[in-house]
Symmetry: C2
Subunit: 627 residues, 2 copies
């Protein structure tokens, strides 16, 4: 048995993200709540304030935090939960051998079960409801909501500088996020705060159309590859680069243990697709699935602390033949498992039949529904078809049923959709599901670029995020081809982070532009280090720069490698600006230039006197005039 | 002196692109014209016809072609040119030392001047006009137009299978492209066929809103890096992956020789920014530029065969102060050079003043204008500002002036633009420039991801391509950071190829979907090889696949590495389909399922009898039913 205390066992990346400092900002409404963010300091010469950025990386990027993977993260939310006095601890369901799969090779990579803590699982007291939506509807503002408000307000302080522009397609993004606004959005179902009572390690975050667009990273081992340690490492790696939530899609063996290691060490909400594990419990034979086995799996995962469940309750028997007309049938794993079950028994889906019972479980732990789109299109050809929308409208019904019990819901979306059919998905979802948050996979805007599907889907993700999708599920370069490795996870996360940010800009999200402006200003002023540090991936930015101009001096050079010293357009426009400024001449003066021969000669002389130099000492580089 | 006959001197990649055959299709209207395409054969078991794809790679991918870089490519269009009887050969301008730059180190990498051929340059007979637009307006259908028609009709034969869907925002894409349609589009200025009489090696292609969206790749050495051999190699490499045109943006020394090597070996139109070379001729001092030096440079490049010139004639003196208000001033090299000249002399731009003389030169060689956007925004902050649109409207005037002399024109566009401001760019361009083809750089939809700007810009490129942009100028991962190497060029080209294709799909381009459908069908049927071969980058697709499942057997396996055998949704949906089909039961039958208990039990029994197997022998894998 491997020594679990050895760092070699499960190695994760720790330490600051270069160029930024971890900070904890007290929530305005409740200073005892400290909200994690990062701050990027700019060169003193710039006279620019530090830039605050949203941070999903958890304690791993805090040099002062003690990281012990085998002990897990501190239980940030435990106090808040207990203070509400509406939960009870109880003897957990006993872990059974089949929880880790009966068949196939051991894929734990030698990692033993997570050292069991004495902690008992919590749940709502009998008949109670501990969902954030329940509290919200009661008019209660929870610490989770206060945390979210502070977290989302990032950079809003500088808002005054900005004229908001953007097209939000009917969203209602406020200038400033108050805890009351968060409560109201959760109460009306327009936002969710996934927060299983048994995952107190997670830092509260909101998924909703009127908040920053979020991204999810999928990890998880499969029957053919991967092991527990590498999945924990991938989780930490993906949140380092910006994943707001992580889904553990493990199949095959060691599912229970893998999930436990991930949950205990995750500062972001964790989602799963419980049907995957249930199927393992029946040896992979879909038709052998039963409601009891599925229910038992929900309890098992609820007690571990999974924050949201993908439930494919919209894959109804009557819709299955519609999928038979397709070019690529059913591409959702969960959807196809349920379709097979329905056909084998020729009965309605047990997920649909037992939906209210599932909801009862969700509310006792505050697990959010992620209603799965088991009939999403798997190709451009199948986009926006009858099967897809039949399911979407069913998800709408199910949303309302969940809301009747005050359970939080988001809706999963496609898939493969050409650009001109993307907006219809958003519009129908908003209408059918009462503005419940939309959570989409891409969509991929063409099928012809395997190996580049992070890009074919990033194009669709940016658009649907702009139209109103609340969370974008990333796609890696390995999509359709293989399991993502560490590098693929990073590329997928950064690609989706930039797509989500492009959507925030287009929606006119207040102050989303602060970071773009800071980076562009740094670029214009040749503050290379600031440019690297302000980018989503400082390491790659500097590495690429150094491939052409490795010299340290080049990082302070007043030109870029693309043009070289003589051609530098940035330098020239700095001169243009300085020159125009020195003339103290309004633009209109220039417009009447034809009548000013004499003035022109004068200006020309002044300019020549100034030296016609391409280089100015750094201290002469003036601030761009934003007037 | 290096031995120019040694392959080591200038090595380029030759041989077929894996999985496809080079074919030459006789033009319907004129079978003597053979149009280059590629065909991808699919597994015989599939019963699918080969898929024809647009091919920009030239003779380099034809195993039967003899490639000799030092001899250049065959003069495909020479006969057609001479047959028109309106050109004359003449003694070329003598190559001067300053043509290759006077200053800085030799960056030829040891490559000598291209072995001078005896060929004399051609130009229109005195006072004549040999532009494709001139012929078009005369009602003449040229072989170039016939070539383009055949080339664009790719896959249209299968059109019958498709219901066209899409939103083209007012474009007029025909079901079938006739030579007459091409002529009409060129005559009205809505499309151009860049074809300098002195670049007979190029294969005719059209850039226009009603044709397939094209992409351009920029190459070129700069004062700080790169050499001649690597630029020729990059040109061949970029067209291999799909670049429709290539711009040589070389600066510093060896400009003339580098360009000659590229032109003589390029089957795609070559564009340049002549002001770069003119500036070298005056030692890099913008204010020393004169009309005579610029004019001499135009003649020099016209005789070499450059197909389109970027001319920044819209950077007028009165607009320059508008740029002073910006966060990032003037980011266009050409634009900043002209701005500096205008300020130094305080005179109107000599490009604007001598515009008609430039046009005289263009028409004598059939060089197309690419009117440069010297005032494009360099940051999200500066997008769609006064300076940018003031220039755009000037480019509109200049377009009409060029059309008066029947000279072909396209218009360059931004830049950095958030998604919600992209469409305004397209709408204003169509209005201001009379539907002259728009040629945009990205646009980049956020500034915060240096190192990923092929993606931030691919998002914008796909959108503006959908809205009507005719050609997308690629951006590589090195944008803002360094000079692209071979790998960056490939990533940039493939990214833009997929963005252009996503745009074609969204515009409802006839049969654009043929390739997507063929690939998705192959994916559904587990024809891995077909999936690789149909993708834009077969090598990367297979490499990624093999990282998870290297075994040869895995390429015929009926499951994918993401899910493993038990979970395969593709397999399950195949069963769903087979099952539904075997029942010969209309969907409606299923909808009334509640009233059919007995029938359900029967179906259930039948299914079980069938074996409930996850695996069916390959020969039982039936064709998707497209009904």
């Amino acid at each position: 048995m491997a020594d679990i205390n050895s760092r070699l066992e499960i190695g994760v990346t720790t330490g600051p993200i270069r160029g930024s400092r971890k900070i904890y900002v007290p929530a305005q409404a409740n200073p005892s709540i400290k909200v994690a963010m990062r701050e990027i300091d700019l060169e003193p010469s710039s006279g620019e304030p530090p830039v605050r950025v949203y941070d999903t990386s958890g304690p791993y990027t805090d040099p002062d935090a003690v990281i012990d993977i085998s002990a897990g993260l501190p239980a940030l939310r435990r106090e808040w939960q207990l203070a509400r006095g509406d939960v009870e601890g109880y003897e957990p369901r006993e872990v059974k051998p089949e929880d880790n799969g009966q068949l196939g090779p051991d894929r734990s990579g030698g990692v033993p079960a997570f050292p069991t803590t004495l902690r008992k699982p919590l749940r709502a007291k009998a008949g109670g409801n501990i969902s954030q939506m329940y509290y919200a509807k009661q008019g209660i503002i929870t610490p989770e909501m206060e945390y979210v408000a502070e977290r989302e307000n990032l950079g809003r302080a500088r808002l005054a500088q900005y004229n908001r522009s953007g097209e939000s397609f009917g969203a209602a993004i406020p200038d400033y996020v108050t805890p009351e606004f968060v409560r109201d959005e959760v109460a009306r179902g327009r936002a969710i705060i996934p927060s299983n009572v048994n995952h107190p390690e997670s830092e509260p975050m909101a998924i909703g159309r009127n908040f920053l667009v979020k991204i999810n990273a999928n990890i998880g081992n499969s029957a053919v590859a991967s092991d527990v340690a590498s999945e924990v490492d991938k989780m930490v790696w993906s949140i380092r680069w910006g994943a707001d939530t992580v889904m553990d899609l493990s199949t095959g063996r060691n599912i229970h243990d893998t999930r436990e290691w991930i949950l205990r060490n995750s500062p972001v909400p964790i989602g799963t697709v419980p049907i995957y594990q249930a199927l393992e419990k029946v040896g992979g034979i879909a038709e052998d699935l039963t409601w009891d086995i599925f229910r038992d799996t929900l309890i098992e995962q609820a007690e571990q602390g999974v924050d949201y469940f993908t439930i494919h309750a919209g894959v109804r028997l009557p819709f299955i033949p519609l999928a038979a007309k397709r070019m690529t049938g059913i591409v959702s794993r969960g959807g196809s498992i349920m379709a097979k079950w329905c056909l084998a028994h020729h009965k309605e889906s047990f997920l649909y039949e037992h939906y209210d019972e599932i909801t009862e479980i969700m509310k006792a732990y505050d697990i959010a529904y992620s209603l799965g789109d088991g009939l999403r299109p798997g190709s451009i050809y199948d986009a926006n078809d009858e099967a897809q929308f039949a399911e979407l409208y069913t998800l709408g019904e199910l949303t309302k049923k969940a809301w009747e019990q005050d359970v939080q819901v988001m809706i999963e979306g496609p898939g493969h959709v050409p650009m001109h059919k993307i907006k219809e998905n958003m519009d129908k979802q908003l209408e059918a599901c009462g503005e419940a948050p939309f959570y989409t996979l891409g969509p991929l805007t063409t099928d012809i670029a395997p190996g580049y599907d992070h890009i074919t889907s990033g194009i669709g993700a940016a658009q649907i995020g702009w139209y109103g999708t609340a969370m974008l599920c990333y796609v890696t370069p390995k999509e359709h081809l293989g399991l993502p490795d560490r590098d693929d996870v990073k590329v997928g996360v950064v690609t989706y982070k930039l797509a989500a940010h492009a959507a925030d800009l287009a929606k006119g999200h207040p102050a989303a532009q602060v970071r773009d402006d800071a980076l562009s200003k740094a670029r214009f002023e040749f503050r290379w280090r600031d440019q690297f540090n302000l980018s989503l991936d400082p390491d790659t930015a500097e590495e690429y720069h150094d491939q052409t101009l490795p010299a340290e001096g080049a990082k302070t050079a007043h030109f870029c490698s693309m043009c070289g010293p003589k051609f530098c357009s940035m330098k020239i426009s700095q001169e243009v600006r300085d020159f125009a400024a020195k003339q103290n001449q309004p633009s209109t003066g220039f417009l009447a230039v034809e009548d000013a021969e004499k003035g022109m000669e004068e200006m020309s002389r002044v300019y020549k006197d100034k030296g016609n130099e391409l280089y100015l000492p750094a201290d002469e580089v003036t601030e761009p005039n934003k007037a």
